[in-house]
């Protein structure tokens, strides 16, 4: 860019400013965000490339689900399905045995995990948001450190623990360890949220003679509800997304398998019906997709709030 058009741009921005000072800020912002045509082309090309990387497996998966098996296993490769149909979405319910059950299990496990996490996290987050006591900072750090260890590292003792408690091959084998690794980030997220509720409210309730528990229940809880909704959504999504290693290792009963492990077992078969498998995958993705679309506003806030401010 040369200096001359820049000067005229500024002049044109400034002239209405003589009349309305507030307008200038707005126009300056609009100007700074104005792109040349080639910049716009570049941006859209870049975004197309980026989104292609992000969405390619879904596009391919979806197209595969539409292709009849004969086309799927034929060469040369064709990206676009010929005589595509949604047949696989009908036949999968009979060929992928237990599919409905797997989806139910996935939802059920995530739901129980979410409820448990909310019940455990709400009081803990309040304690960290409002009370300082010896070691409270260290304790919070300790909780956060849990995030750093994945379940995979602790698998051996967890397996022994589950066996001792007699939880192997049950829903609990997936629920109990699942909860633990979702607690820390939820505590952090909700604590951040609760810190924004004015302390004066607690104190006012205290002066009026409310007990601490009453204050938490009647003053804080209603105000923290949006934050609690966010952690509940995040936990549900997390629980739904990460059902693999515990379910793979701690449960071998087909009737308790969540969808990812159920489908993974299906892969081992001689003849994999890929189109139906992909169709089943899409149906499994559907619940979270619906959540994303409906609740995206909360989601972005929730996804970023936990990490941005320390």
């Amino acid at each position: 860019m040369t200096d001359i058009p820049r000067a005229t741009e500024i002049a044109s921005v400034d002239s209405p400013a003589l009349v309305k000072p507030k307008g200038r800020v707005k126009t300056a912002r609009a100007m700074i965000d104005r792109y040349k045509w080639y910049e716009i082309v570049g941006l859209y090309a870049g975004i197309a490339l980026f989104l292609f990387f992000v969405l390619a497996p879904f596009i391919e998966g979806f197209l595969v689900s539409l292709k009849p098996l004969s086309q799927l296993f034929s060469t040369p490769y064709s990206f676009i399905p010929r005589n595509g149909s949604f047949d696989a979405y009908v036949t999968m319910w009979t060929t992928v045995e237990g599919l409905g059950r797997y989806i139910f299990n996935s939802l059920f496990i995530s739901l129980v995990v979410t409820l448990a996490v909310v019940v455990i996290v709400v009081p803990a987050a309040y304690a960290f948001a409002r009370f300082t006591f010896a070691g409270s900072v260290l304790l919070l750090g300790g909780f956060l450190a849990v995030n750093m260890f994945s379940g995979a590292v602790l698998l051996i003792p967890l397996y022994r623990l589950m066996r001792t408690m007699g939880l192997l091959n049950s829903y609990w084998a997936m629920i109990v360890p699942g909860i633990a690794f979702l607690i820390p980030s939820s505590i952090w997220l909700l604590r951040t949220y609760m810190l924004r509720i004015p302390r004066e409210l607690d104190e006012a309730a205290w002066v009026d003679g409310a007990s601490r528990l009453y204050t938490l229940r009647r003053v804080i809880l209603p105000l923290a509800m949006p934050g609690i909704v966010v952690i509940a959504i995040m936990t549900f999504i997390g629980a739904y997304a990460q059902q693999f290693i515990f379910a793979l290792t701690f449960n071998s009963r087909q009737e308790f398998m969540p969808l990812p492990v159920g489908l993974f077992a299906f892969f081992g078969r001689q003849e994999v019906l890929w189109n139906e498998l992909m169709a089943a995958s899409f149906v499994g993705i559907l619940p979270v997709m619906i959540i994303i679309v409906i609740l995206q506003r909360y989601l972005v806030a929730g996804l970023t709030a936990g990490a941005v401010k320390q």
Partner: protein, 295 residues
């Protein structure tokens, strides 16, 4: 009402469920891992202490150091690519152009859908006979024969990295985008008035101010990537010929595949030591960065 004795007791009572839960399901297993690493525990319930024998065995065999090096190389490339692509994505999604909200939404699926299902789809894409990558490359005449990507060590190694990057990129992008948006607009406006171009502003304003976000995210991503299990297990189970066996996969195979819990625990302890080191670096970095912000 704060800092009295009863307040502390109340706070501890509120914390008790979370604390007990984490102690039982995370802290106890962590200690148990260390204890088991000095035993010959296997399938049967009782075991004997064997001192440092497990450690001597794994470090004596030689291939364990290969696994460690491979894990670090794998992790390094994965994290580096996540940062670069994430920054690329954040810059694009930050541009004020029509469709911005939709593009941001479309970035999220890999992060939010069940991880394993996304990986299944990658598994199909990597298929040599019928998958998209090999298929399209053949259609365009770049390769002449089917390319079974997961069947060769080198390509499988990179394929698992690409899938790991794919899963990590949305989070990095959204996080970088949030950091980018928290940069005061005035800075850009002032620089723009002085004639600074877009690229110059990115290099001299955006990038320096995003250093805290980049450091934080790289370290968090480092820890997550180091622990990555599902991707490799679903795509290659560590093969072909162990070319994608990282430390986590190695531990899993030792413990759950061969039922050598004691030796598996020793391998897990080595992972824990690395993770703890990363953790210390992370907490230090975060503290230093937040102090820098206060000044």
């Amino acid at each position: 009402m704060t800092s009295t004795r009863s307040a502390t007791l109340f706070a501890l009572a509120l914390l008790a469920p979370a604390l007990i839960y984490i102690l039982a399901i995370v802290a106890y297993p962590l200690v148990d891992t260390i204890v088991l690493s000095f035993t010959n525990a296997a399938l049967r319930p009782d075991y004997d202490f064997v001192g440092w024998a497990n450690y001597q065995r794994i470090f004596g065999a030689g291939n364990f150091t290969d696994v460690i090096i491979r894990t670090f190389v794998w992790t390094f490339f994965s994290v580096a690519l996540k940062m670069v692509i994430g920054m690329f994505g954040a810059v694009l999604l930050n541009a004020a152009i029509p469709g911005q909200a939709l593009f941001r939404l479309l970035t999220m699926p890999p992060w939010i859908v069940p991880m394993a299902i996304g990986i299944f789809m990658w598994g199909w894409m990597y298929n040599g006979q019928f998958g998209m990558i090999s298929g399209l490359l053949q259609n365009f005449g770049i390769i002449s024969r089917p390319w079974p990507i997961l069947a060769y060590g080198d390509s499988a190694f990179w394929a698992t990295i690409v899938t790991d990057v794919w899963i990590g990129v949305p989070m990095v992008t959204i996080y970088f985008l949030a950091a980018m948006q928290s940069i005061p607009k005035d800075l850009h406006e002032a620089a723009w008035t002085d004639g600074a171009g877009r690229f110059y502003r990115f290099r001299r304003i955006t990038l320096p101010l995003m250093v805290p976000a980049i450091v934080t995210m790289s370290l968090l991503s480092l820890i997550a990537t180091f622990n990555s299990f599902d991707i490799i297990w679903i795509l290659t189970q560590g093969g072909p010929s162990n070319q994608t066996t990282t430390m986590i996969i190695d531990t899993y195979k030792t413990a759950m595949g061969s039922y050598r819990y004691g030796e598996g625990a020793a391998r897990a302890v080595v992972i824990c030591i690395f993770v703890s080191l990363f953790c210390i670096v992370y907490f230090r970095a975060v503290r230093r960065l937040s102090q820098g912000e206060a000044k």
